[in-house]
């Protein structure tokens, strides 16, 4: 009996310690300034991760402890994420970075259904994200419907777009399918840029911020005696959506639909022989991905309150694809990690000014060369 409670304490300690360590490394990475400091912290994190990656015994030990104490690990993680704005309240910019990372996590988890689960290289993320943002912005500017209705409209509009985009892709594969999505994304961008009712290149301004019971998200957040900048409101909003998306993504991954997508990815003909309606499931993956992108677009539009076609360019789709592939396909945790890393890295490289995108490109290529399966490869499905 005593033995067992001792084991329990060790397990809790391991979970607590490792989560705190990762969290502190994350905060340090966010707060560090100056070129030398950033490089130093980055090297430290990279070295730590490399060692962890090499020591499989430690890995197995830690992941077994996490598996045993799932609830505790999740509650602790939630608390740590919830208190993050408190540590960053003197610099709203850092909160802004965290919530932008959250928005990219939302886009990347959405894309993972296609790229990771079904192996459909969809390079039209910017289009569905943009359609969602424009739908909610137009609805709000013209009818004043409010944020909470607009997100469903945005999701619906984007899902409809996904349906339209999905139909031709049932007849194409591989690079051809990728080219269809590229062409489609460019068409949407050109239309947004040229149509008069989308505001053309000037975009749409004065999008009202979301509000709950008369409390606007643009007000400062008072928390007992602590005042948080208004970005904290959006941080919690995005955090809510990120949790929702990861939950949806986990549930779908473990559902029959997720299994079907994996079957299509492994071998389309075999899947068809097993009685799977391949086209229907492919279009479904488009609809779900685009719906989630559309909601994300609405959140973004109501955060920045001004959108223009420049926010929804082809490069954005490429960046999201990179996040999924670098993080690890069909692995929700890996995708989240990849999205956070690739959002924060270029921002941290702002100190290198001009060179930040260059370094970003070099890091992506060198990571792929050394680790072609992504940072967190897909785990085998376990049924026990």
């Amino acid at each position: 009996m005593n033995e067992r409670s001792h084991h329990r304490t060790t397990a809790l300690g391991v979970v607590f310690g490792s989560e705190l360590l990762v969290y502190l490394a994350f905060l340090l990475f966010l707060r560090v300034e100056g070129a030398a400091g950033t490089l130093f912290v980055l090297t430290g994190i990279g070295a730590g991760w490399y060692l962890y990656d090499k020591m499989t015994a430690v890995q197995d030990f830690v992941s077994a402890r996490f598996a045993g104490e799932k609830v505790f690990a999740m509650v602790l993680g939630l608390i740590l994420l919830a208190v993050t704005p408190l540590f960053l309240r003197d610099t709203p910019y850092l909160i802004h970075l965290c919530l932008m990372a959250g928005i990219y996590v939302m886009l990347a988890t959405g894309l993972n259904f296609q790229l990771g689960s079904t192996n459909i290289v969809n390079l039209a993320t910017a289009a569905s994200y943009g359609v969602g943002a424009y739908a909610s912005a137009l609805l709000n500017v013209h009818t004043g419907s409010g944020f909470w209705i607009a997100i469903f409209a945005a999701g619906g509009a984007a899902a409809f777009m996904g349906f339209i985009l999905g139909l031709p892709t049932t007849k194409t594969k591989d690079y051809y399918l990728t080219l269809v999505t590229i062409a489609f994304g460019l068409i949407v961008y050109l239309l947004l840029n040229n149509l008069s009712w989308t505001g053309g290149p000037n975009g749409i301004g004065d999008i009202p911020p979301p509000s709950i019971l008369g409390y606007s998200f643009r007000d400062e957040l008072h928390f007992f005696n602590v005042r948080l900048p208004y970005q904290a409101n959006y941080y919690y909003l995005v955090l809510f959506f990120v949790l929702l998306y990861t939950l949806i993504s986990e549930r779908l991954h473990h559902s029959r639909t997720g299994l079907t997508w994996n079957a299509i990815r492994e071998d389309e003909i075999a899947a068809r022989c097993a009685g799977i309606h391949v086209s229907r499931y492919k279009v479904l993956s488009f609809c779900i991905n685009c719906f989630l992108d559309g909601v994300t677009g609405a959140v973004y539009a109501h955060y920045v309150c001004f959108i223009s076609p420049e926010n929804f360019q082809f490069m954005l789709s490429v960046v999201v694809v990179t996040m999924v592939i670098l993080g690890g396909m069909d692995n929700t945790f890996g995708v989240v990690f990849g999205a956070v890393l690739l959002t924060l890295l270029p921002e941290k490289f702002r100190i290198f000014q001009e060179f930040r995108l260059l370094m970003y490109g070099i890091i992506v290529i060198s990571t792929l060369v050394f680790r072609p399966q992504g940072l967190f490869p897909q785990k085998l499905r376990r049924y026990d």
Partner: protein, 306 residues
Amino acid sequence: MELIQQTINALLLGCNYTLIAIGFSLFFGALNIVHFSHGDVCILGSFVVLILYKLGSSLGLFAAWPAWIVAPGVILTAAAVTGLMGALFEKLAIKPFRHAPELMVLVATVALGLIIREALRIFYPQGANPQIFPTLLPDGGFERGALFLRYDSLIILVATVVLIILVFLFVERTRVGSAIRAVSQDTEAAMMMGISVNGTIAVTFLLGSALGAVAGILNGAYISIIRYDMGLMGGIKGFSAAVVGGLGNIYGAILGGLMLGFVETFASALIPGGTAYKDVFSFLVVIFFLVFKPSGIVGEKVFEKV
């Protein structure tokens, strides 16, 4: 007359797309990959011309030679330099993924394109601004009634046709060319016949990148202004042309390039207010082709083996 004028414009645009598309087809034939930074390599070629021109003028090399020697010399040197760079890019960013999933090459080449664009923007003096391209081709033209023909457009047309014939002869008639075809048909069988696969792939990238550089240079010479990020759209158009024609097939690249050129030119000429939407039309055509004839105009239908 208007029709002839527009046809010439369409042919010019088509020539440009064709030269880029041939590169895509060559790379796809050799490695079954899509080189998403090819458009940026093309623009790199026109920047190499800018650098060569500045170097040459400051050293006073050009004063001694007449323009009709200097211009082709500069263009060919730039194409050769870009070709070598293209072969180097293959070694750095594509070769490491030869046995990895295809997606990795896609991301790696996209990242490579980003690196090329950023390097041009940062390291070329005032690279973020549009650059004025030197007048390589003669000014002026001749009039025949309402028709006005610029000399440079004639030169571009002739040069493209000559280049395409040369490439065709190279691929069909030379030893290296047959090695390229062998590798694209079956890499392993080619290896067993004693063909150096790596060497052949390097030659393929050299050739494709050099052709792309010529496309970038001729385009720069025609519109006389270039910018570091023009390669992104150029690359997508070239890839579209290659796919519409039939990926991996040189005739297909020519047909696809011409078709995109015609669609784009006539959409902006004939449809009122169509100029802003010309790319929309060409991409709609691309999607239409991909759905109803995914093998392209001249491509063979591929049956999937289980």
